[in-house]
Symmetry: C3
Subunit: 309 residues, 3 copies
């Protein structure tokens, strides 16, 4: 997939469209916007200095566009200098109790789409929709969300369905990255390593989005310990960072989104460990809190300083 | 007032002198400094890359200088490349129980001064002096301050006096911006919209300084909801940002000043909504906490990336 | 020591190697690394734009290298454009109950080494090793560490030993800077001023590393009050910054490492006060939390904006 030598100048580092809502203030959907309207949003991404984009299906489901509309979208991205190294799904779990089958079919469709438009990777996760309790919080991660059941049959189903997607991806020359997310089967470093090994398809690995974990207002494994376990399994990687304060005496745990350089995860070390294990995939910049696109742009510039010349 | 087309290169974005104290370590006042001494302070503002300045009357009351000293000050600013698009008042409420009449007279004088030196706008507020309890805190916003009384007669007086200033401003070709501040009649989005409508003078609008609100360690309306209500009413705008953590389970609310890009208010969205409503006024960068001038300079550069080319 | 005129372009601002561990993941020590291995680490420091380095003895004890290995190290630093204006010790207290004599002998050796390689300053402290309780915390400063005893004889011994080092340093043309650290005799502004005066050797002064203090989750003196007391006594200065939230009503005190511009200490004011008192020593950038080297590089660039042209 990645034959050319990558360096700090050309390594693909994509902007996540997660910072833009899929439903607009007037209730309409990005899915139905005109090319000009898409262009207005993507123009901001270009203006922020990005040359790679992950549409992220919370913003736009490329796989659900008609072939003609998808061609229009691709022509637009090409005209403004954006490529799409990967596509991330969000909250489309293939073991969702109600919509798992639907999500599985969508995931296969998405792999076909990703191959068609020249992506290298697709990111899948096992996390569910935000709960009403999460939506009622200022930051959704301060309330518990949907949990994967502690049930061997469901675990087995998850492994089987992801293996099925992995084999499909392998046929298409794609890699599959599994997004770490709390209270899912890929919600800890150990759980993720086990799951990837259980799936046992070489093109399937871990999306070490441990920002999802270090932001939790509960005890979590130290980031360095997690990265040491995950480094050999890394694929397409969602990177973001958080401050994290813990104080046992005050019974306090609190986090806040910040730039990659300032947050608790030392990405200088994390990325070096990944490179030492042969990491060659693209990066995806995400950021919740404040102006996500601007912080993602800072983070992109920062990541480049950590990559080989 | 603003006839030339404004873009990201020339939009006036002023440094607030609020980051410099009006009383010096030796007890003397900026009001009595020599031109050379003023120049030493303003040289830092120029060195930080600013071309616009708001003297902010907590640092220097231009309206209380003699005409000769004011000419000296203006000659100084001109010589170092600074213009003054607007002047902000702080803690000079026209309904202050003891000094309201004095502040009203001062406010009229200030309008005359602002017109004389070529400003576009003046910012007034209804907030009082810091209380001893506030001064005893590390961050004054963690203690309650003076509150505007829940009293129709005082409310009516506030509207009448601001209308009087608004009509004066209109005569002079100035706009009046009303600074949002907790526990005043313009302390919430709804309250501000009502107050501006009650004043009912076209050149009078809202200074949506919602940084003053999102920093409070108590429940506050979501910034996006506030901006949606305020967007049609915006005038000269004090911008600053804060991190804000809330955790119901820990009974925790805490804030900390940070750069505009990193804080909870997404100024990419806020400024876009303002521009969509025809916002043409200058911006004022403020920052409490750490090196305010340096953070204001970062914020100025950030704001420019959000403005039209 | 510092005869040439220093300005924002040439003022020595060193990277602290405190952000790199002295013990590697495989259990080996930086002390025994090859020149190539040292070069790989120092290459990152150069890549981050530094031209000055403080090896910091938590990373590498220059004084404990053989003369030949030390020459190799110096040849390496020279070849990649790094100079060493000063060396900092960490957790080598000359009044350590068990290893004080050993640390004293080491400190004398270090002075000889520092002079040999052309340093201007050495930083000593009276703080002890991290306790198990501190190591068990996410951030070690949220647990109490070793305290200097409230015992006149030990205090007297500390003064005598630091004076002995100061006289040795004076002979060698070096300055000695004493690092402020909580619960040591130089753990408050008043204590530091008293200690420096008790030592009473002109080349011995204060390393006002008040970041060590403002990060404590307990009441601390305001940074400005500390700097006002310390300004006349400043020598080689470890600079870093933290956010600090206090809320009496919530019984909350919390800190988090951030960039120098964003943290609670206003270094624009602190450095100006130092310069006004004739400060001419180098600066050392430290940062705990996240990517320390990258944040140190930001801080270096920031410090330069505060120094005279």
């Amino acid at each position: 997939m990645t034959t050319a030598i990558r360096n700090r100048d050309n390594w693909p580092i994509a902007a996540a469209m997660v910072t833009f809502p899929g439903t607009l203030p007037d209730g309409s959907s990005v899915q139905n916007q005109s090319v000009e309207q898409w262009g207005k949003t993507l123009g901001q991404v270009v203006d922020a200095g990005f040359t790679e984009l992950d549409p992220t299906d919370s913003w736009l489901c490329l796989a659900d566009l008609s072939p003609e509309r998808r061609r229009d979208f691709m022509a637009l991205t090409k005209s403004i200098g954006l490529t799409i190294p990967a596509i991330s799904t969000a909250r489309r779990s293939v073991i969702d109790p109600e919509r798992g089958d639907e999500h599985l079919a969508y995931s296969h469709r998405l792999l076909e789409t990703a191959a068609e438009i020249g992506c290298e990777a697709v990111s899948f996760g096992l996390f569910g929709p935000l709960t009403p309790a999460q939506k009622a919080e200022l930051w959704f991660w301060t309330a518990d969300g949907v949990k994967n059941p502690d049930d061997p049959a469901t675990y087995k189903k998850a492994v089987a369905r992801i293996r099925e997607l992995g084999l499909h991806a392998a046929d298409l020359g794609l890699e599959v990255s599994l997004e770490m997310y709390e209270d899912t089967y890929i919600g800890t470093a150990d759980g993720t390593v086990k799951f990837v090994n259980d799936v046992d398809v070489p093109c399937v690995g871990a999306n070490a989005d441990i920002g999802n974990l270090v932001r939790l207002h509960r005890p979590v494994e130290h980031w360095l310990s997690m990265i040491e376990k995950l480094a050999p399994y890394l694929k397409y990687w969602h990177v973001k960072n958080y401050m994290r304060v813990e104080d046992k005496a005050q019974n306090l745990i609190a986090s806040y989104p910040t730039s990659m350089a300032l947050g608790i995860i030392n990405y200088r070390i994390a990325i070096q460990k990944a490179l030492d294990c042969g990491y060659k995939s693209a990066f995806l910049c995400e950021h919740y809190g404040g102006d996500g696109l601007t912080v993602c742009a800072m983070n992109r510039d920062y990541i480049r300083t950590l990559l080989p010349r």
